[in-house]
């Protein structure tokens, strides 16, 4: 079995070793599988481990590479996919009891694209039930129990891509695929000390993915580094006529190799969080200093004021109630684990069409206002969250009472964002910094994060799990 030094390698390094036949895809897959089977249950990280499929794909990759047919840097690389992505012939539970036995007879587009790239699916990552679409109060809101943070098993990974966060953080796979409607990639990436990229809305097809909010859902990579995320995004991005919100081909495709030509202009948000934890603020300030030292132009920036969080919340509520109408009306929503999830659908059904339209109009206004910010800056920067990972028992309603304007406006307007680790608290919990970019400018957020990671080593730290 391969050791941690290999299993924690960034994807390009693994790919290079596979291509040069220093590492066998089968051996790499068996090593991640063994680690996943040993540590996965401890962390509640997986919904399903797809051992047979993984070994079949790994053997096929090995055979192809031996025959000289190398597909690219993801060929033979094991990954996990959030359990809301359809995988033919395997359960896709959406993290929820009412769908515990759900099976699809086709693959989600993201899975197909990763198949085409030669990647190896080793499992379906655990998640918050229905990606939190009916709301939730506790970390335990999942068919598989609360996902535990590899940095401290008494703490949560955050959600809803909870298993994806744990898997990438503990090197149970080389990377994981997550999704975000509002916060579900950025938050687990910050809590778990990994790099997670939320692409521009429409860049990655949602065909075959559970719908929570049709006009907000995004799919993105979670892994070791920003460059890993860019590489994975280049494989999963692209126009798909089966997703009505898919960007046109020329806009949807993404190349990991193109470099930034001029120094980045970074706007540091002064109003992203009301009262960030002092340790978080210090780490983010230090990260900004690193970026400045390495050529980035730094100045203060401010989000516009307005009810965009309320608008985003309302859109999630209305679209979620529509997406899960049959679950709500049948009463099966009562089978959800979380007490708030059991009633959230009933409440969201009461939101009116008039208010929904108003929220969409507000979105239109704030798309323009937000876009104007990027006339001055390539990216906006802020702490990914104002706190570090919370305990598994935390009541999310009562104990996390803070506003999230950057998440609200970023998701409302479909902006790309990335969270990368930038330090630790005194309790050795990861701290994340996020970079948010103009729509379609995913490259800028990757460039900012990559610049930071080329000059720091926070992303190389490993959690104390064994």
């Amino acid at each position: 079995m391969l050791g941690e030094d290999v299993l924690y390698m960034p994807v390009p390094e693994l790919g290079m070793r596979i291509r040069s036949k220093q590492i066998s895809p089968v051996e790499l897959t068996e090593s991640y599988l063994a680690r996943s089977e040993r540590l996965g249950p401890k962390l509640n990280a997986y919904a399903t481990i797809t051992r047979e499929l993984a070994l079949k794909q790994a053997r096929a990759a090995e055979k192809e590479i031996a025959a000289g047919k190398y597909r690219g840097p993801l060929h033979g690389i094991p990954y996990a996919a959030k359990d809301l992505l359809a995988v033919k012939g395997h359960p896709t539970t959406w993290g929820a009891k009412p769908y515990a036995k759900q099976m699809f007879d086709y693959n989600a587009t993201v899975i197909e694209r990763l198949n085409d790239a030669g990647a190896v699916l080793i499992g379906k990552a655990a998640m918050i039930e229905l990606a939190g679409g009916m709301n939730y109060r506790f970390a335990s809101a999942s068919l598989t129990g609360p996902a535990k943070n590899p940095w401290n098993e008494g703490c949560w990974t955050c959600g809803s891509s909870s298993g994806s966060g744990a898997i990438a953080s503990a090197a149970l796979a080389a990377f994981a695929i997550g999704t975000e409607t509002w916060g579900s990639i950025i938050c687990p990436s910050a809590y778990c000390g990994i790099s997670g990229l939320r692409p521009t809305f429409g860049r990655v097809s949602r065909y075959g993915a559970m719908a929570l909010a049709y006009s907000l859902d995004k799919i993105g990579p979670m892994g070791r580094t920003a460059d890993d995320c860019a590489l994975i995004l280049s494989a999963i991005a692209g126009y798909d006529p089966r997703d009505r919100s898919s960007l046109p081909a020329a806009e949807a495709s993404f190349s990991a190799s193109a470099a930034e030509s001029s120094p980045l202009k970074i706007g540091v948000l002064t109003n992203a969080w009301d009262k960030p934890d002092p340790e978080i603020k210090a780490a983010v300030d230090a990260a900004i200093a690193v970026l400045k030292q390495h050529g980035a132009g730094i100045s203060d920036a401010k989000l516009p004021e307005g009810p965009y969080e309320a608008a985003a919340g309302l859109i999630v509520g209305v679209e979620g109630a529509a997406a899960f109408r049959s679950l709500i009306e049948s009463g099966k929503v009562g089978e959800l684990v979380d007490p708030l999830g059991q009633i959230g659908g009933y409440i969201n059904e009461q939101l009116s069409a008039g208010d929904y339209m108003r929220a969409l109009q507000i979105r239109g206004i704030f798309q323009k206002k937000t876009d104007a910010l990027f006339d001055e800056f390539d990216v906006l920067a802020a702490a990914s969250l104002p706190i570090a990972a919370t305990t598994l028992e935390t009541n999310l309603e009562t104990d996390l009472a803070f506003s999230d304007p950057l998440g609200g406006i970023g998701n409302l307007c479909g902006l790309p964002a990335i969270s990368v680790p930038c330090g630790f608290t005194s309790k050795t919990l990861p701290i994340g910094i996020q970079f948010v970019g103009r729509v379609r400018n995913d490259r800028a957020v990757v460039a900012a994060a990559s610049l930071f990671q080329r000059n720091t080593d926070w992303h190389t730290r490993r959690p104390p799990i064994a």
């Binding site: 759900q102 699809f104 086709y106 918050i128 709301n135 939730y136 109060r137 955050c158 959600g159 809803s160 509002w182 916060g183 938050c187 065909y207 075959g208 006009s215 006529p241 089966r242 919100s245 109003n271 009301d274 004021e305 009810p307 969080e309 309320a310 919340g313 309302l314 999630v316 979620g320 007490p339 708030l340 059991q342 009633i343 959230g344 009933y346 409440i347 969201n348 059904e349 009461q350 939101l351 108003r358 969409l360 109009q361 507000i362 979105r363 239109g364 206004i365 969250l385 919370t390 935390t394 309603e397 009562t398 996390l400 009472a401 803070f402 999230d404 304007p405 998440g407 609200g408 307007c413």
Partner: protein, 128 residues
């Protein structure tokens, strides 16, 4: 020329954050949006003193509560009914904040009708 749109007058940053956050409590997918409520076992009073709803707003909330109970009441425990009351009540202020935001006839919604078929697609109906 359109007037510049700003947040509701008289709304402090702190108030705005609190109210906006409560709105998201109807739809959260991140703990950051799950806010200001008590555990199900110990339902809190539905309003803080400074957050009293107008009679009209309270009537709207009551109508929504009754609509939930009328349709789904037989499925709900007393504790769940208390939670429904609380969440709907707490969600009203941010809803009203959003409604106060000035909008004009020409403010198109941030969604589009994408024509179908778009010339390159062949429809596939997924099956389970």
């Amino acid at each position: 020329m359109k007037a510049e749109k700003t947040s509701a007058p008289g709304m402090s940053r702190r108030d705005f954050a609190r109210h906006a956050a409560m709105a998201a409590a109807t739809a959260a997918c991140l703990p950051a949006e799950l806010l200001t409520a008590s555990p199900l076992q110990t339902p809190a009073p539905t309003q803080q003193p400074d957050e009293k709803l107008s009679p009209e707003s309270q009537a709207e909330v009551d109508a929504k509560i009754q609509a939930v109970f009328r349709k789904y009441g037989d499925r709900l425990s007393e504790a769940q009914k208390a939670d429904v009351r609380r969440v709907l009540t707490e969600g009203q202020k941010p809803l009203e904040l959003m409604r106060k935001f000035p909008l004009d006839n020409g403010d198109q919604p941030g969604n589009v009708l994408k024509l179908y078929p778009d010339g390159s697609a062949t429809r596939e109906t997924p099956s389970r």
